[in-house]
């Protein structure tokens, strides 16, 4: 067996937190956990974090699951498992709660790792990278780990720089001139600015590197305290006094002017991040061959548009400013600024605008859909209207504060 431990990355274990229930994404999370929610047509939310791992060279990955983890487990096993070679000491594996410590579910992110300390015991890596499975961003963890080592840090938290006013909604990290962490502030009214850059503050991304011994000692101590057992709230703040805790500036592999990092926390943030993809110059680029985003491949025929009757009243299959997945057919309908998942069908005279249609959605003739998220396999009947009458939509569906209509999987609209 190849000794991958000789390298920094080979001696690093990644733990992806994928147990989030995603209450605020309901009904998209009715039958699946937050990391398994489809995103960008062919992907699931967790694919972005896993692509970051793969592109960074992290090849020992545990995905900690909890709620409704069936579809996530299948996705990781079939879509990601074959990319890791056990003979080279590489793996990706979903770990459901084992109830080894007690007969209870995870009570916070730190508790989830604490209950799986035996995995660290078996592997005894030099470093552990702790990641969230529900963020959309591109990041090279190899650079993060190298900086962690160069700093002589015991723990390092990645942080994205945002305008001071926007930071109040997040967990903020205060640092000194050398980026040593001095405090963690939770949704602060007055966030500490970055030294030398008074207009910005550092938002905690929930991306951490730990020396394994530091992590285990911190987790075992925290497990005996009355805390929320949360990395950002409890574990890292307890290490600030060591003065060996550093922040790491998020270097965006997306290579756009503004650093792109999104927490898919609510239906509106899910919708906004989806719409980020369809812009002419998308702020998040899926097409960079140097940073490929992978997912579970499906064998599907090419997407297709049919009917080119451009005369008034004719059938015209047309798609503008949209992402179209394999197997989708736009047959005489009109699609603008949409994400069409695999095998979606839009029929004649239908009009779909500013919407996300997941796998297998079928839009009937003359139907109108505006600003909606439609979950898998929903059949929109002929002449049905979504997104034009807010009162009628609220009576039948979930409507977000920003006015996005969400139609759950299995909805019967006939």
């Amino acid at each position: 067996m190849v000794d991958r431990r000789r390298t920094l990355l080979g001696d690093t274990l990644a733990i992806v937190m994928a147990g989030g229930q995603g209450e605020r994404l309901y009904p998209l999370t009715r039958d699946r956990g937050k990391p398994a929610v489809p995103f960008g047509g062919i992907y699931r939310v967790i694919d972005f974090t896993l692509s970051n791992c793969l592109n960074s060279g992290l090849r020992k990955i545990y995905v900690l699951t909890q709620y409704k983890s069936g579809s996530l487990e299948r996705h990781v096993r079939i879509g990601w498992g074959p990319l890791f070679n056990h003979e080279l000491d590489e793996w990706i594996q979903c770990v459901p709660p084992q109830l080894r410590v007690g007969e209870r579910w995870y009570e916070g992110t730190a508790d989830a790792v604490y209950q799986n300390v035996y995995l660290l015991e078996q592997e005894r890596p030099r470093y552990v990278v702790v990641l969230s499975g529900d963020h959309i961003y591109k990041m090279d963890f190899a650079r993060l780990i190298a900086r962690h080592e160069a700093n002589g840090a015991i723990a390092t938290a990645a942080a994205v720089e945002v305008p001071l006013a926007a930071a109040s909604a997040f967990g903020v990290i205060a640092v000194d001139e050398e980026w040593r962490i001095t405090a963690f502030q939770e949704k602060p009214k007055a966030p500490s600015p970055v030294p030398g850059r008074p207009g910005t503050a550092l938002v905690n991304m929930g991306v951490y590197v730990f020396d394994t011994e530091t992590l285990v000692r911190a987790l075992t101590a925290d497990a005996r305290r009355d805390t929320r057992h949360d990395f950002g709230h409890d574990i890292l703040p307890a290490l600030v006094d060591t003065k060996k805790l550093y922040a790491y500036p998020f270097i965006d592999e997306n290579k756009k002017e503004t650093a792109y990092w999104r927490d898919i926390g609510t239906l509106d943030s899910y919708y906004d991040a989806s719409m980020d993809l369809v812009a002419v110059e998308p702020v998040f680029n899926l097409y960079d061959k140097n940073w490929p985003i992978r997912t579970m491949a499906q064998q599907l025929p090419p997407a297709k548009t049919v009917f080119a009757q451009e005369e008034p009243g004719g059938r015209l299959g047309i798609v503008l400013d949209s992402l179209v997945s394999g197997g989708a057919i736009v047959s005489g309908g009109r699609v603008e600024r949409c994400i069409l998942g695999p095998e979606v069908r839009v029929n004649s005279y239908a009009k779909v605008v500013d919407s996300v249609l997941m796998d297998g959605v079928d839009i009937g003739r003359h139907a109108h859909v505006t600003k909606a998220i439609i979950d898998k396999d929903v059949r929109i009947p002929a002449s049905f209207v979504v997104g034009e009458d807010p009162e009628e939509d609220k009576r039948r569906f979930t409507v977000t504060p920003a006015g996005v209509v969400v139609i759950p999987r299995g909805a019967q609209l006939d």
């Binding site: 410590v101 035996y118 660290l120 000692r217 497990a223 005996r224």
Partner: protein, 121 residues
């Protein structure tokens, strides 16, 4: 009077600890297995637990993590003839790790310290 639970499968050690701790002014209850000990944690509500590691059936490390899951505030001292378990991550949850010795001095000192710090917290 603080109550100490000793979980120890060797009968002679149980007797020795019982005598010494009672002489120090503690109430002592003892168990010979982890299962028996965990039941006594519920019934006797001890102020501190001295836990052997190599026990018949469930070992002391697993017993400790079960005990702490329900009673995270009870101080636990791991007490083993072997120092090798100090490397085990599971053992790091303990408040102290005392290697067994014919002299109970160190163990008794740690018990007094932990109960004192608990009384002050």
């Amino acid at each position: 009077m603080p109550k100490i639970l000793i979980i120890e499968d060797e009968k002679n050690l149980r007797l020795l600890y019982q005598q010494d701790f009672e002489r120090d002014g503690f109430e002592v209850v003892t168990a010979a297995t982890a299962a028996e000990g965990l039941a006594m944690v519920q019934d006797e509500a001890p102020d501190l637990v001295v836990m052997d590691i190599r026990l018949p059936g469930m070992d002391g490390l697993e017993a400790m993590s079960r005990l702490l899951d329900k009673n995270p505030k009870i101080p636990v001292i791991l007490n083993s003839a072997y120092s090798s378990y100090k490397d085990s991550f599971m053992s790091w949850s303990a408040d102290a790790y005392v290697v067994k010795s014919a002299d109970t001095g160190e163990l008794r000192t740690r018990v007094r310290e932990l109960l004192a710090s608990r009384a002050n917290s």
